[in-house]
């Protein structure tokens, strides 16, 4: 992977000269700096982050409608809204959508937008790769969702659950194309996540501002880094599982075919070796987000920074040693069960540390109950429920009663909704002004929060009881007489309350945007926050920072505004408006947009459909993908005339904004490295 686009400032004069002297590219790079082109072909990590968010919210609506359909079906005994087959498809797609197309990309949205900013970097290490991750995710998402209507409505939808246990996932028991869509779709999404993980790891390790040591990185950045490592190591395992499944289904291999002596537990092991770290992939970004929000609205630094970081890393490590707790009733021997039971319990330790540190951060603080803060407190309390119910089924003996009942459904919704999603909403309210230049309305925000938290508890709280009363998971209906009626009805009502809450969020965006026209601009730092992203204008200028930042402290930006006296008093030393960058620098060289990430990604669904339906489609997809790789290789390393309208008028003050004396030289020869890169990409594309 090469960085043609070294996102650090360059002497534009030099560069023009060099490009002129070495006309490398056979194709020009996209020119549009406004309108739709500026989004489709962008390599700007902020626009990519926002698009991750937009697409994820679109899929969130789809997944949410699926959830409502499930709750309508289960509201009363013997529900008739969905047929059993449709129900199985809907709950499968609900899980797959929410996990792979909503929570993961929403975390990616924050990671893309914030991680370079919090590091004080201009962009990620590989901007075009970053665009590729986005578009591959979008391609994979639409590919998966297209299963809803391809070959007829609800004909070829995955129907084996997100966990998709063999041998039920084999062609013998699931003869539609649905599970092929699952196997291929998740592989496409895996490519996106893997590319993104490599990119962000390198960014984190290599692109930090001067003085930004690892132990000065914000907790969010730390958690995101841990998540990228989890992705890096977890994705290949699910890739293997998906390949084996695809080989079985499409080409008659025998990995999960019991009639040929295969062992179905192979799938479970591979799936959960991925699947358990996946849980932390979903939750850790949210832990990071609220670790940023709580200090700001408590007016205190995060309590026990090093413990917060260490516990995040510990969760990441321990996450690899507990996968079999999903398999306590799968027929492992008692020794494995006991060992995994105990190892699972110890995950509670670093998690407990985090929860108590958040509380300790608030302790004695001056607390402003903004919507962002409310959501963050929501995470602390709701995730605690999810964590504690997790402890109750880490007790393997108890798990034999609880697993595969609604108790588990309650548990992981308290973790994923109560933990991850509420944290993401906290992040929305917190960083909205940074991303879009206006705050979300607090009044609507409070409605959003309270409806969502009340609806959430109404929906998922009763599921604990249903589970303990013996209601199995994944059943499309239940008979009267088992004591399930009342709480299912309550739960279904709660689902609509959640829906209202989420709808209010969208209303809030609309209202706030309208109101913002009559309000003064929010300025760089509306919350009196602590980390570097607040040190530049809102919305963030394309080049992030006008000059390179030299970091001295953890919470560097805060320390520029405030000083701690010896007696512990905090006094102002500067106003944010005075020290934050105003975004006026005009001579910052940025990577040019590119067509090829989008084109490359667009080839993948064709390959996917081709594998499932007709190999000729693979040829089309392969043509697009390979063509894009060639385009990628041969396009201009940079196009100084494109994308930066302000390029010409900087001659007078050109050098003054260059903070560091040893600015980079131009990497005009990167095309060769790029050639290699592209081949590697092809490898990834074909190998997962």
């Amino acid at each position: 992977m090469a960085i043609i686009e070294n996102p650090l400032e360059l002497e534009a004069g030099d560069e023009v000269a060099q490009v002129a002297e070495k006309p490398l590219g056979v194709l020009t790079r996209p020119q549009g700096s406004t309108g739709w082109q500026s989004w489709l072909f962008t390599v700007d990590h902020k626009r990519i982050g926002i698009m991750y968010g937009v697409f994820a919210m679109f899929f969130f609506l789809i997944g949410g409608l699926e959830a409502l359909a499930i709750r309508l079906q289960l509201a009363v005994p013997n529900g008739k809204i969905l047929s059993p087959e449709t129900y199985n498809q809907v709950f499968t797609m609900h899980g797959v959508t929410m996990i792979f197309l909503v929570i993961m990309p929403l975390a990616a949205a924050f990671a893309n937008y914030l991680l370079p900013l919090q590091l004080g970097a201009r962009d990620v290490a590989f901007p075009r790769m970053n665009a590729l991750s986005l578009w591959v995710f979008v391609a994979g998402g639409f590919f998966l969702c297209s299963s809803l209507f391809i070959g007829g409505w609800f004909e070829n939808v995955p129907n084996g659950g997100w966990f998709n246990y063999a041998p039920n996932s084999g062609t013998l028991f699931s003869p539609t194309k649905g599970i092929d869509f699952y196997a291929v779709g998740l592989q496409i999404l895996g490519i996106a996540s893997l590319v993104s993980a490599i990119n962000l790891i390198v960014t984190c390790l290599n692109m930090r501002a001067e003085g930004m040591t690892l132990m000065k990185m914000p907790v969010l950045t730390w958690m995101l880094l841990v998540v990228q490592f989890l992705l890096l190591f977890a994705l290949p395992v699910i890739t293997v599982a998906l390949f084996l499944l695809m080989f079985d289904r499409l080409w008659g291999a025998n990995f999960f075919n019991v009639e040929m002596g295969a062992d179905p537990l192979l799938w479970q092991h591979l799936f959960w070796i991925f699947g358990h770290p996946e849980v932390y992939i979903l939750i850790l970004p949210s832990f990071g987000i609220i670790s940023e929000v709580i200090p700001v609205f408590s007016r205190k630094p995060i309590f026990g920074y090093s413990f917060m970081v260490a516990s995040g890393i510990a969760i990441g490590f321990l996450g690899w040693g507990v996968w079999a707790h999903h398999m306590f009733v799968s027929g492992l021997g008692p020794i494995s069960v006991a060992a995994f039971s105990v190892s699972t319990m110890f995950i509670a330790v670093p998690t407990g540390v985090k929860i108590l540190n958040w509380v300790a951060t608030m302790w004695g603080g001056r607390i402003q109950l903004t919507t962002a803060m409310l959501f963050a407190i929501g995470v602390v309390s709701m995730f605690t429920i999810g964590g504690l119910s997790g402890v109750t089924h880490s007790v393997a003996a108890a798990d034999t009663q609880q697993t595969d009942t609604y108790y588990i459904v309650a548990h992981f919704h308290y973790v994923i909704f109560g933990g991850a999603l509420l944290g993401i909403f906290s992040g929305f309210y917190f960083w909205w002004p940074k991303m879009f230049g206006y705050k979300l309305n607090e009044k609507w925000g409070k409605w959003n929060f309270w409806l969502q938290i009340v609806g959430f508890n109404l929906t998922f709280g009763p599921m604990h009881i249903l589970g303990l009363q013996g209601m199995s998971r994944r059943i499309d209906s239940y008979d009267p007489g088992y004591g399930f009626e009342l709480w299912n009805m309550v739960s279904s009502i709660g689902a609509f309350v959640i829906f209202t809450g989420v709808a209010i969020f969208f209303v809030n965006i609309y209202v706030s945007q309208k109101q913002a026209k009559h309000l003064p601009p929010v300025g760089p730092d509306p919350w009196d926050a602590r980390s570097l992203e607040w040190m530049t204008a809102s919305p963030t200028p394309e080049h992030n920072f006008d000059e390179e930042i030299v970091v001295e402290y953890q919470d560097h930006f805060w320390h520029q505004k405030w000083a701690e006296e010896e007696d512990g008093r905090v006094v102002r030393i500067a106003y944010a408006e005075d020290i934050a960058h105003d975004g006026s620098a005009t001579d910052v060289h940025l990577p040019s947009p590119s067509y090829w990430p989008l084109v490359l990604a667009s080839g993948l669904p064709f390959i996917g459909y081709g594998i499932i339906y007709n190999y000729w489609l693979c040829a089309i997809g392969g043509f697009l993908t390979l063509g894009a790789i060639f385009g990628w290789i041969f396009e201009h390393p940079d196009d100084p005339d494109a994308a930066h309208g302000h390029h010409d008028d900087h001659g007078d003050d050109g050098d003054s904004d260059h903070g560091t004396p040893d600015s980079d030289t131009v990497d005009t020869d990167a095309d060769d490295a790029e050639l290699v890169t592209a081949s590697t990409d092809a490898g990834e594309a074909s190998n997962g």
């Binding site: 059993p84 087959e85 199985n88 041998p167 039920n168 019991v258 009639e259 002596g261 179905p264 537990l265 408590s298 205190k300 630094p301 026990g304 009733v329 027929g331 105990v342 319990m345 110890f346 670093p350 407990g352 540390v353 108590l356 509380v359 300790a360 608030m362 004695g364 603080g365 001056r366 607390i367 402003q368 109950l369 803060m373 407190i377 309390s381 605690t384 402890v391 109750t392 007790v395 393997a396 003996a397 034999t400 009663q401 595969d404 709280g461 009763p462 604990h464 009881i465 009363q469 013996g470 199995s472 998971r473 994944r474 209906s477 088992y482 004591g483 399930f484 009342l486 008093r569 102002r572």
Partner: protein, 463 residues
């Protein structure tokens, strides 16, 4: 929840046999157990709702294994609630107490605490040791649940007394459960050494094969060997023990025991495809004499009248006897139409059963050996069970009469009552039976086996 009662398997003993005293440990447990749930919603409403009739309640143990689990989890629920309310109280309390309304002032800064190593180590250590303690208890419970108790139980089969180590082979099918009893023992290891690709399709003939309802003697630890013939299922009788997956290609040991005679509901809990929701089972624990009687009935090959037996013999001899009544016509129909999948000893359990298309579908699908007579529930003692179609429909009405409407509807079009994909060998196909054929088959089915007792029939109704 079903109260603990003595069930009489046969008709001669009436409901006066019911013993209505739950053992003392249950009463104690129940009060304690309700407490956390009450806290969960923080309302008395919850308390009353939970007290309702949850047939599958996991917190009402009725056997030692379930009791072991319950004793472990109850205190943990309590601790969890305390911890939760501490965290909720702290976070909400601090948020409310320290709340600042409006914008921050410049001098509005609290003490800037960056951390406190002692406190942090403390709240690392406390959960660590707490978890270690729970871990030790868990390990003991896991060992306990996986240990086998060697015991022998005398069973009389064909006048011969056998020492049976109570054991049942449990086979999951899409979407029903099969229970096989081997009174002279079933050596799992030796069987697995035969190295069949899908062992569940090669199980040796058993003394008793029944489905949907597992009958056990009360007060005996029953070893289970759980496997599956197709996809993964999970066998779960919450009142008696936790669940264990039925995985094709593997045979998993598990056990359960009922303290007292009673009727215990269960549900398949591993997603197993289309009709996962409609794959249920019940365990009926009987006192020793009832169990002995049940074994006696079930081990008698067919429960046919002498005339019907003679009629079958004539059919087998190729004499083309004409059916004297509806039952005999039903027997003819069953032999012709049902034999591909269902086995009825004394009716079609012979070599001359005709090949059938359903069987061939299995062959075409390359699923291994012929599935003839074994792919579907054994019907030899069909009428002795109180449920059918995977434990989901009651075979008898509350007044004890045959649930004729349901049974006929089932024969008319099974998929209309229970989702299936018979073309793909999942579930019972619609055989396109005429109303006459259905009537005759029902008439014959009604003669297969001795009716369960009125008590069992009454307990069948979930309420």
């Amino acid at each position: 929840m079903t109260s603990v009662r003595n069930l009489s398997a046969v008709t001669k003993e009436g409901p006066e046999n019911l013993a209505e005293e739950p053992s003392p440990r249950h009463t104690r447990g129940m009060r304690l157990r309700r407490l956390p749930l009450a806290l969960a919603a923080g309302s008395a409403l919850l308390l009353s709702a939970c007290a309702g009739d949850a047939e599958l309640d996991t917190l009402e143990p009725r056997g030692p294994e379930a009791e072991t689990i319950d004793n472990l989890i109850d205190p943990l629920f309590l601790i969890s609630f305390v911890v939760f309310f501490i965290i909720l109280g702290l976070s909400a309390g601090v948020a409310i107490k320290n709340r600042v309304k409006g914008e921050y002032e410049d001098d509005d800064w609290p003490t800037q605490t960056h951390g406190n190593a002692k406190a942090e180590w403390a709240w690392t250590a406390v959960p660590f040791f707490g978890m270690a303690f729970i871990g030790v208890l868990t390990v003991f419970a896991v060992i306990d649940l996986n240990s086998e108790e060697a015991n022998a139980y005398a069973v009389e089969v064909d006048g011969e007394t056998m020492q049976w180590e109570p054991h049942v082979v449990v086979v999951g099918h899409q979407w029903w459960w099969e229970y096989r009893y081997y009174f002279d023992g079933f050596d799992v290891d030796a069987f697995l050494d035969e190295d069949h690709a899908n062992p569940a399709k090669h199980l040796p003939p058993a003394d008793i094969v029944t489905s949907g309802q597992m009958i056990i003697p009360a007060g005996q630890e029953i070893e289970l060997s759980i496997t599956s013939r197709d996809v993964i299922h999970s066998h779960w009788i919450p009142a008696l023990n936790g669940k264990r997956d039925a995985v094709p290609g593997r045979i998993h040991p598990w056990k359960l025991e009922a303290d007292a005679p009673g009727y215990y509901f269960g549900q398949c809990t591993e997603f197993c495809g289309l009709s996962h929701a409609r794959m249920r089972m019940q365990t009926i624990a009987m006192n020793d004499s009832d169990f002995a009687e049940w074994v006696d009935q079930q081990t008698t090959p067919a429960t046919l009248s002498d005339e019907d037996a003679a009629f079958i013999a004539a059919l087998r001899a190729g004499d083309n006897p004409s059916p004297a009544n509806s039952v005999q016509q039903g027997l003819v129909n069953i032999r012709q139409l049902c034999s591909a999948c269902h086995l009825v000893e004394g009716v079609n359990h012979f070599d001359d059963v005709p090949e059938d298309s359903v069987d061939n579908i299995y062959k075409e699908a390359n699923v291994g050996v012929s599935l003839r007579a074994g792919a579907a529930p054994n019907l030899t003692h069909f009428a002795s069970r109180s449920t059918f179609a995977g434990g989901i429909f009651n075979l008898y009405n509350e007044d004890g009469s045959l649930n004729r409407n349901k049974l006929e509807a089932w024969l008319r079009n099974p998929a209309a009552l229970k989702a299936n994909d018979a073309d793909n060998l999942q579930g019972m196909p619609n055989l396109g039976l005429s109303e006459d054929q259905i009537d005759d088959i029902v008439a014959a089915l009604e003669t297969f086996g001795t009716r369960p007792s009125a008590t069992v029939i009454a307990e069948t109704f979930a309420e």
